[in-house]
């Protein structure tokens, strides 16, 4: 029973990873790519690690899997936020269909160009 449950968690996790990678390919813009891929891949890898925890139980490897889940949930959004900030400051603009760019407006209201479309 536990083996089957851990297998289900691992397969669902890998499916979420696949969806995140497809989002990384398909989306038109770096911010959309971050949005689509980071959340999906974080949740999918957490699913895989929870499946590993169910498989091993409260042994050394299982507790390490739980620690890895907590670590991943703490660090992946921080890394994504730093990447988005660095990309925006390096001059990458949002794609044409974007509605607004609040970060540029907050930083320099005069220099922010209104986006078309």
């Amino acid at each position: 029973m536990t083996d089957l449950l851990s297998l289900i968690f691992i397969v669902v996790g890998i499916t979420f990873d696949l969806f995140g990678s497809i989002g990384l390919i398909r989306m038109p813009d770096i911010y959309n790519r971050l949005q689509a891929s980071t959340k999906c891949v974080t949740l999918g890898t957490c699913g895989i690690l929870f499946g590993v925890f169910l498989k091993f139980g409260f042994t050394a490897a299982g507790v390490k899997a739980l620690v890895c889940i907590i670590f991943l949930l703490l660090t992946a959004p921080v890394a994504a936020h730093a990447l988005a900030r660095g990309a925006h400051r390096s001059g990458v603009r949002p794609c044409k269909g974007s509605a607004c760019d609040k970060y540029a407006e907050d930083n320099s209201p005069a220099a922010a160009k209104p986006l078309k479309g």
């Binding site: 851990s6 297998l7 691992i10 397969v11 996790g13 890998i14 990873d17 696949l18 995140g20 990678s21 497809i22 990384l24 390919i25 398909r26 770096i30 790519r33 971050l34 891929s37 980071t38 891949v41 974080t42 999918g44 890898t45 895989i48 690690l49 499946g51 590993v52 498989k55 091993f56 042994t59 050394a60 490897a61 390490k64 899997a65 620690v67 890895c68 670590f71 991943l72 660090t75 992946a76 921080v78 890394a79 994504a80 730093a82 990447l83 900030r85 660095g86 990309a87 400051r89 390096s90 990458v92």
Partner: protein, 112 residues
């Protein structure tokens, strides 16, 4: 044209999944690893043809998170504990590397 690109991509990805789970006569462990290798391949495509350096950095970040899951699957099916150590260490290295890449994209010093 856009529809044709959609169709080609979907046929490619779902054909790979169908090939792995339907035709290959290998163990379940190898099937799961090949299923995860599709994700690695897709993120590497974005590394190769990203238009800006920021896109490549994002794909590197995703690649580093995927390696953690790969090490976890290896730990299940080989029964060795130390693959989880590799997963935690790889997560730390990937996090610090991505922060350094973000600083580098901003064009600032690392001790800022």
């Amino acid at each position: 044209m856009k529809f044709l690109r959609w169709l080609a991509g979907m046929i490619f990805i779902f054909g790979l999944i169908f090939l792995i789970f339907g035709y290959l006569q290998v163990s379940l462990q190898t099937k799961l690893m090949l299923y995860l290798l599709i994700c690695f391949m897709l993120s590497l495509v974005r590394v190769f043809r990203g238009p800006t350096p920021a896109d490549r950095s994002v794909a590197t970040d995703i690649f580093g998170i995927l390696v953690i899951g790969f090490c976890a699957i290896l730990a299940v099916y080989t029964g060795k504990d130390w693959y989880m150590d590799i997963a935690i260490a790889w997560g730390l290295q990937s996090f610090i590397g991505v922060l350094a890449l973000a600083k580098f994209l901003e064009g600032r010093n690392f001790d800022d």
